[in-house]
């Protein structure tokens, strides 16, 4: 039995006018028969779900990738994606979570374990033999794009080692790095720190855990609640004290702001404070720019740069702040194809039964990137798993926009992904 209230989903449910715009724009329904579309598994099936129900009306809801394109296009404001997430949690609460999903949902733990001996973890994770076993035993797609553990320590290691030369300032900002920056891509965090410091801000990195999104999207709400509460306890104090909390991972930030409180029914004062203080890093930089406080000493960056704004970033409903800021860089030819989704959707594309769907969803994006000419050396995208999927689908490296901005400030080597002058 699910233990959550359906309140927020239920109140928007009756707004559904069955127009099917959500299904028309759903990237998953477009490529597979296994997912009939958001309207059917969302507001329609919802009529048949209630607390304590013995049989769920359908299981196709598990094929929802949680990209939230349906919410974006719905003309009447139905929270379709949240209805689906709750329905999945209801199934998990009744049937239990498959072992594979339990592991994938704990990618924070995997990330930390790999960092014990990263070279060994990388060998296993990128070895065809072990991946073959992983696919057979664990149902984790052998071809799915796994990241590499950092062999130069974690992001917080770097913060510790470089503490003496980190900027001290009256102006302070808190950085939420997320698990991927901590263990796989510390250079994204370094770029963020360089950009923030260049603008005169001291960067505080408090202890922090996984935002819980992988748990939420795999229907394990109980553990997600515990993890979110931990972050809330660690961050709410900063929020109340008036520090902006910025992040480079668009889906982690969205989870802290909206997804966790919405799905877990958390409307406490600390949550309100956290929601109000938390920013996507580019949303915050754009506000600095609006106040004329962003440094614009950008060096020209003569590149053709296909950019994909992740669906979880569009769900912030703040426009495209990173594209707005990258637009200030001279000579940078930024090209936004406005495509729906790369397909990977967090842990979705790592599941054997969903890998092909994820690749089919991403195809229009991969094709768009390839159509931008042979001058294209790399792509830009704000979300880690989306970058890995983009690299997998296009064979081109992908960078976080903050790395591009750090490069334009002359602080960072975009190709080698390291700070300049060190």
């Amino acid at each position: 039995m699910h233990t959550e209230s359906w309140l927020s989903a239920g109140t928007t449910l009756d707004e559904c006018i069955k127009c099917n715009i959500c299904t028309s724009y759903c990237p998953v329904a477009a490529v597979t028969d296994l997912f009939p579309g958001p309207k059917y598994v969302g507001p329609q099936a919802q009529r048949f779900r209630e607390n304590g129900q013995i049989e769920m009306p359908d299981h196709a809801v598990d094929y929802c990738s949680g990209c939230r394109v349906c919410n974006e296009v719905c003309p009447t404001g139905v929270r379709i994606s949240e209805i689906n997430a709750r329905a999945r949690a209801q199934i998990v609460a009744k049937k239990g979570i498959p072992f594979r999903n339990r592991i994938l949902a704990r990618n924070a733990t995997i990330a930390r374990m790999g960092m014990i001996v990263p070279s060994l973890a990388n060998f296993v994770m990128h070895n065809a033999f072990f991946r073959g076993i992983g696919e057979k035993v664990m149902k984790v797609a052998a071809k799915a794009p796994m990241p590499y553990w950092s062999t130069q320590g974690t992001f917080t290691d770097w913060m510790r080692h470089t503490a003496p030369r980190r900027l001290k300032s009256d102006k302070k900002v808190v950085y939420f790095h997320g698990c991927a920056t901590e263990s796989y891509e510390p250079y994204v965090g370094k770029a963020a720190v360089l950009v923030l410091e260049h603008n005169g801000y001291e960067v505080i990195v408090p202890p922090q855990g996984c935002c819980g999104l992988p748990l939420l999207s795999n229907g394990e709400f109980g553990t997600a609640r515990k993890w979110h509460d931990d972050n809330l306890a660690r961050l709410a104090g900063f929020a109340r004290a008036g520090f902006p909390i910025v992040g480079t991972s668009t889906s982690c930030i969205l989870t802290l702001q909206e997804e966790a409180p919405e799905l877990l029914d958390i409307h406490s004062e600390p949550q309100q404070a956290l929601g109000a203080a938390t920013y996507d890093i580019f949303e915050w930089l754009r506000e600095l720019h609006a106040k004329d406080e962003l440094k614009t000493d950008f060096k020209p960056l003569k590149m053709v740069m296909p950019y994909h704004q992740p669906c979880q970033y569009r769900a912030h409903n703040i426009g495209a702040p990173s594209a707005d800021i990258m637009g200030l860089i001279p000579d940078l030819d930024l090209r936004n194809g406005h495509l729906r989704c790369c397909g990977i959707a967090g842990t979705y594309g790592y599941k054997t039964e969903k890998y092909d769907i994820a690749m089919a969803v991403g195809e229009e994006l991969f094709r768009y990137v390839k159509s931008q000419g042979s001058d294209v050396q790399m792509t830009a995208c704000d979300s880690e798993t989306c970058r890995w999927q983009l690299e997998h689908g296009t064979d081109l490296p992908s960078r976080h926009p903050i790395e591009i901005v750090a490069t334009a400030y002359g602080l960072y080597d975009l190709e080698k992904r390291r700070e300049l002058g060190m």
């Binding site: 127009c19 099917n20 715009i21 299904t23 028309s24 724009y25 477009a30 028969d33 009939p36 919410n71 974006e72 296009v73 719905c74 003309p75 009447t76 404001g77 969205l254 702001q257 909206e258 309100q272 929601g275 109000a276 938390t278 920013y279 569009r314 769900a315 912030h316 409903n317 703040i318 426009g319 406005h338």
Partner: protein, 437 residues
């Protein structure tokens, strides 16, 4: 800084955006979601039926507007604009549609309404239709072969053909296998249309149609002739068949409406205009007018994933949110009905008992649907005495008062005419402000 912020991404908002952007204005479109165009048949209904008499459709809608409507309903949006400005706006739309690869045509006799078959086999008046629908013109009497696909819900070729035959249009029906369109077990017309973007699938469909069509017949299909590659798909099928081929629009999600929306949005993006969905306006900040001085809209804010709304500042604002059938108005059980963004006064009876006349299909329509925002000839909102409410706000489309677009069959005509005229007025206001400085 944005010159013009347009709230609403239906046909009226997009036409305003196009007209203003073409005149050099920095324009941005935000919307709660995508709507309107995805619900409609993709045709341009200008004026189908006179109010009160549900008999014969109007034959020449622009003449009707010029000769009758302007006298009988001088407060209606069409009367405010006048037939000449409406005709010019329709020309602008036709030119734009051709430019974006979705040519629209009128009746063989210029100025006449077209009569096109519906999926129930009825005759529906409309003024302009996409190239792929024009072949269904019921002024032509050559026989029709109406082709359905096995298992396609909402389209029953026998029903269409029988009803057309009853009205004197020779027609017969045929059914082809769904596998020609898609391999999916369950699909909607958008997915079937996307299937016809593929040349190999088209070749198979053409082969199957050649088996069943008789010489001299025109071929009526559900709207499945391509989505991204629609123009190619339509022209190829028609050329290879050596016969007139036409589509009959179906229930939402509407394929012809989606084609038009997609092409317009892509064109606007190429012009530097963003059309952003998922942005519901929740606050508007304005200084109210005093005496004869109108008010001024400073900014609006849309909902985000945080308690911090997203602020949109602009020189001028356009309300294109639709009326009671769109998302522009809301109501409560006490009979209160309000405009959701600026809380503009509405010409709707504020008593629920007066919203509706008896009988659902009342030929007079229902007062609640004819109500909306009152505007002046420049399409700026006014109070009951005709006083200008805000100096930098315009209203277009179905939110306008004195216009029951569903009853009249005038939804797209109003959207295009008011959108183009407002877009021009916005550009003129900009020039005016340049001269003032």
């Amino acid at each position: 800084m944005t010159d013009i912020l347009i709230i609403g991404a239906g046909l009226s908002g997009l036409m305003t955006a196009y007209t203003a952007a073409k005149a050099g204005q920095k324009t941005h479109v935000i919307a709660k979601g995508l709507g309107a165009l995805h619900w409609t048949a993709g045709t341009v209904d200008l004026f189908g039926y006179p109010p009160g008499a549900r008999t014969a459709p109007i034959r020449r809608p622009l003449d009707y507007i010029a000769d009758t409507l302007t006298k009988e309903q001088p407060e209606s949006p069409y009367a405010l604009l006048g037939a000449d400005r409406i005709a010019a706006a329709l020309d602008a739309f036709q030119a734009l549609a051709a430019e974006i690869g979705l040519a629209y045509y009128g009746a063989a006799t210029p100025g006449d309404n077209l009569l096109l078959p519906t999926a129930a086999g009825a005759a529906r008046p409309t003024y302009l239709a996409p190239a792929a629908q024009i072949g269904g013109d019921l002024a032509r009497k050559d026989p029709m072969l109406i082709v359905g696909f096995d298992g396609l819900s909402d389209f029953y070729p026998r029903l269409v053909a029988d009803n057309l035959a009853r009205q004197g249009q020779p027609a017969r029906a045929a059914v082809l296998p769904m596998a020609l369109l898609t391999d999916r077990i369950d699909s909607n017309t958008l997915q079937q249309a996307a299937g016809m973007d593929d040349a190999q699938r088209r070749a198979k469909l053409i082969g199957a149609l050649q088996q069943i069509v008789k010489p001299g017949e025109r071929i009526g299909l559900p709207p499945i002739l391509g989505l991204q590659q629609h123009a190619t798909a339509f022209q190829e099928v028609q050329a290879q068949m050596g016969a007139t081929v036409f589509e009959i629009p179906l229930l939402p999600p509407s394929v012809p409406g989606t084609r038009l929306f997609t092409a317009l949005r892509e064109h606007l993006r190429a012009m530097g205009v963003s059309v952003d969905a998922g942005m519901e306006v929740i606050n508007a900040h304005s200084t109210p007018g005093a005496g004869s001085t109108p008010g001024h809209v400073a900014w609006v804010e849309s909902a985000t994933s945080t308690p911090r709304p997203y602020r949109h500042t602009a020189q001028r604002f356009v309300l294109a949110t639709g009326g009671i059938l769109g998302a522009g108005f809301n109501s409560d059980q006490h009979g209160r009905l309000w405009e959701v963004v600026f809380n503009l006064p509405l010409s709707v009876p504020q008593q629920r008992s007066q919203w509706f006349r008896p009988a659902f299909f009342n030929p007079e329509g229902h007062p609640v649907f004819a109500g909306g925002v009152r505007v002046n000839r420049a399409l700026q909102p006014v109070d009951e005495a005709g006083g200008l409410l805000y100096e930098n706000l315009w209203v277009v489309g179905d939110a306008l008062a004195n216009d029951d677009s569903i009853l009249q069959r005038s939804l797209e005509g109003t959207a295009i005419a008011t959108g183009v005229v407002a877009g021009q007025a916005l550009a003129l206001a900009w020039e005016g402000s340049l001269h003032a400085h």
